[in-house]
Symmetry: C2
Subunit: 314 residues, 2 copies
């Protein structure tokens, strides 16, 4: 360490292992214009689990009108070869979505709300309180059916409609989600505007209501700070990080919000820090690369483009 | 902070202000295939200084055969409108380059060496010791002429030829550069493989020989970790960070090593942390964007593509 200062990367402060929660097949693909064959998307999910990811958000039961790309959710799941130790949550917006998910035999779901009324109105056509009220029966029924439930909270560090977001506002909504009975809360930087100080301020505020083990960070790399924010979260004590293989996806309602964090970038950072993930970064890259012919463009993720560091002597 | 833990972003630990050392006009443009008009490159330098950057590495006196893009170094400098409080270092590889730089009336130069023999051989056609010996008269004469001198050390965290690099090896070479009389040492992650623990290990080793105030971090974003590494360096006590407007450039000798850190990404992080830079991030973005018609492709930098976070109510 620099003389007179505590170390920055204190091994005693880092967790030995963390969970990488893969969102590529759902959050990554949901905005893709060209429809991918169901078999290709299913193989993507299978490849990601085979790469060591234990949580792969597989698809969405949002109404097909809103996300046509994932209209084949039931069909995708029906043929899915499941790894015995992996979980495949699906996104459900409401009770109808939950009904479809239950009929498809899922054992984990994710619900979503925004941290601001402006974004909620734009994205879900209702203010946050109304969305939360609508989620109550969804979470209750999901829990009663024995499902694991995650709650997403978007625009926690800035909203494309309402601008700045107070950490206390995020904390109150995280408290509400925990009150509904969710097992985990994922805090999203949907427009990619956060920096480490803000990450810590939100975590500090949220931690009053939710145990750190229940929290996930979902950072976007829109302005390059996703890994700096994850590193700050890691030092703070977050143990679950969302990422999207290949850096696929973004947010359709937030202009310029391309830039999901590439799962490979995240695993590369964690590998370098000696924090175990169980994930084979190159296998994730191969999984994402197989989609390139269907996407019609290169992968947006940094590591996914560059590949592994392979010295070539001579 | 999380109960029972020290804060991650401790304001008492952050500097109030840091120096952003702009390398775009030199390191960014040197690999561009299409020749940019001298006036365009000169305006780029002027725009960057006008954006608040106090150090703008303006061009290179490497032999035009190696870097044809910057063959007009003397002409660029001759017409440059200089901000009174900005410095415009130029890269010089040897005494001939220094002669040309002195004839052009520069007041600051940068010399370079690699941290490994493999890269040195590939990049400078000589082992490191030979390069260092050749730099001695360059630094001595530059100092005697009253110039400020920076020493670049490349591949400090990994070499595309030799692979892993020991922190002690970097430290010994930093000591040698300081011994030659350089004012500052810039530590480069040329292939973009570093992560925060490795950044700290190298800084710890180098700090034995060089005061932290003399050190700069030159991180590449090849695998997305540049800002995480800068954030770690900031907490460690580094106060100078290299970056390239628009994320221009990379390393011609390191395959897949595209990905200079976008100056805008860096300033966005520092702005968010409340660390003063004096730099107007949007003015830097405009400066880089003006080059796009000449580059024939979008800017590679994250922030430079996305732009400022501008909420659009309603």
């Amino acid at each position: 360490m620099r003389p007179g200062r505590p170390p920055v990367v204190d091994p005693a402060r880092l967790p030995r292992a963390v969970t990488v929660y893969e969102v590529g097949p759902r959050d990554g693909l949901q905005n893709e214009a060209s429809a991918l064959p169901t078999a290709v998307k299913r193989a993507f999910v299978e490849d990601l689990a085979a790469a060591g990811l234990r949580w792969v958000e597989a698809t969405s039961f949002v109404h097909p009108r809103w996300v046509p790309q994932l209209a084949d959710a039931a069909e995708l799941l029906a043929g899915l070869a499941r790894a015995p130790d992996a979980r495949y949550p699906v996104l459900v917006p409401n009770e109808k979505g939950l009904d479809r998910a239950l009929a498809a035999g899922v054992d984990a779901v994710a619900v979503f709300a925004a941290a601001t009324d402006g974004f909620s109105q734009r994205n879900q056509n209702a203010p946050v309180a109304e969305v939360m009220a609508g989620l109550r029966p969804v979470v209750e029924r999901a829990r009663a059916a024995g499902l694991w439930v995650r709650g997403y909270l978007s625009v926690c560090w800035g909203c494309p409609v309402d601008g700045a977001v107070a950490p206390a506002q995020v904390a109150a909504l995280a408290r509400d989600l925990v009150g509904l009975g969710v097992d985990a809360v994922s805090l999203g930087d949907t427009v990619g505007v956060a920096t480490p100080g803000g990450v810590e301020r939100v975590l500090d505020a949220v931690a009053v209501h939710a145990a750190p083990e229940r929290l996930a960070l979902h950072m976007h790399d829109t302005r390059g700070a996703a890994l700096a924010n994850c590193f700050a979260g890691l030092l703070w004590g977050v143990t679950t990080f969302d990422a999207s293989a290949g850096g696929l996806g973004g947010c359709p309602y937030a202009p310029g919000a391309s830039g999901n964090l590439d799962t490979c970038d995240l695993v590369h950072l964690l590998d370098g820090l000696g924090v175990a993930t169980g994930v084979d970064v190159e296998a994730v890259r191969r999984a994402a690369t197989r989609l390139v012919p269907y996407l019609g463009r290169p992968l947006p993720g940094r590591y996914s483009r560059a590949g592994a560091f392979r010295p070539a002597p001579g």
